[in-house]
Amino acid sequence: MTTARPPGHEEARPYVRPRDRWWFARRRSLAVFVLRELTSVLVAWTVAYLLLLLGAVADGTTERFAALAARPWMVALNVLALAATAFHAVTFLNLAPKATVVRLDGWRVPAWMIQGGNHTAWLAVSALLAYLVLRSS
């Protein structure tokens, strides 16, 4: 089925709204979305930071790295990174059931179960990593 708009129908011009530069400030949900996406910048930073650490370990310059890490601005940045990565983790794991709908014999596994599993996995992995890093010290 196609729409018929016979040629020669002069039409008063419809109004097209100009691009709204501040679209993300119009609704809370959009602001939260943009914050969620911007966590990626700090995810990238966190990776960079860990690469610096790995470099220091490889070069045997961990002392210098520790000194750098203790600078107040660096600590502030990492506190921000912690908040961002945690926010990323919570939002990402909570949204996962949208992409992975699990059906068992026609019964749809409710979102909260999948989310609960994800968060349990997060806790377990975090605990394991912390144990590996801290066990001898």
């Binding site: 419809p14 959009l30 059906r103």
Partner: protein, 242 residues
């Protein structure tokens, strides 16, 4: 008892005379069971016959009366004036669509998108005689039912920043409709060619507002993310097409 009223600030756009929409204020009675649509009908019937807007069923099923009410896309028949306290309430055409007149927007682009996803049952071979139905269990029905509830009100498009910034984006309702058929046990297509595109599912950044504003709980955001998984798996495992 003095009759209470509420002010409605209504966007007016008359293409013959206005360069852009302007707000016009009307005082309408504030009654507990009046929806925004009743307020607009009161204006049209008793205050200003020149106001143009679409409406029909006033029971939330025809999908005509979606508008932007105080910055949120809503069905005006199901949005009550009492929600807005003393007012005023700002009523504008759905954002993201060209405005034809007042509160009336151009939806031809949306319809073209719906049509593009082959929203019909795709079968191979001859249609069997009209003596028996295709069998479908309640569980198989359940697998797509939610995506079949879309009333084409377009609130999801209006709420979607990706669509508003890029009108070529296929958008929530069209993809949900494609999934409605993809997940139907009677359908034999997966609409990979029209969905596995940058302007289709890959354009979505999963804002999730489409789902938030959907008056029928279709959850288009879910439909899109699920198709991303389907399309990604099909891309990695080329033999996994249905």
């Amino acid at each position: 008892m003095a009759a209470e009223t509420i002010r409605l600030d209504v966007a007016r756009y008359r293409p013959e005379e206005d360069a852009e929409p302007v707000l016009q204020s009307y005082e309408v009675p504030l009654r507990p069971d009046w929806a925004v649509l009743d307020g607009l009908a009161h204006i049209k019937d008793h205050l200003d016959g020149t106001l143009s807007f679409r409406w029909s069923c006033r029971m939330g099923i025809c999908g005509s009366c979606g508008m932007d009410v105080d910055g949120e896309p809503r069905l005006t028949c199901g949005t009550f004036l009492a929600e807005y306290g003393a007012g005023p309430v700002r009523i504008e055409p759905l954002k993201g669509f060209p405005v034809i007149r007042d509160l009336v927007v151009d939806i031809d682009g949306f319809l073209a998108k719906l049509s593009s996803v082959r929203p019909w049952l795709v079968r191979e071979g001859e249609e069997p005689p009209l003596t028996a139905e295709y069998a479908q269990t309640p569980a198989q029905l359940d697998a797509y039912k939610q995506y079949s509830m879309c009333i084409n009100c377009m609130l999801c498009y209006s709420a979607c920043p990706v669509y508003v910034l890029d009108p070529d984006f296929l958008g929530p309702a069209a993809i949900a409709l494609a999934q409605r058929y993809n997940l139907d046990s009677r359908d034999m297509d997966d609409r990979f060619d029209v969905l596995n595109l940058e302007e289709a599912v890959w354009g979505c950044t999963f804002v999730g507002d489409c789902t938030r504003v959907c008056p029928k709980h279709v959850d288009p955001a879910e439909a899109i993310q699920r198709y991303k998984v389907t399309a990604a798996l099909r891309s990695v495992l080329p033999w996994s097409g249905r």
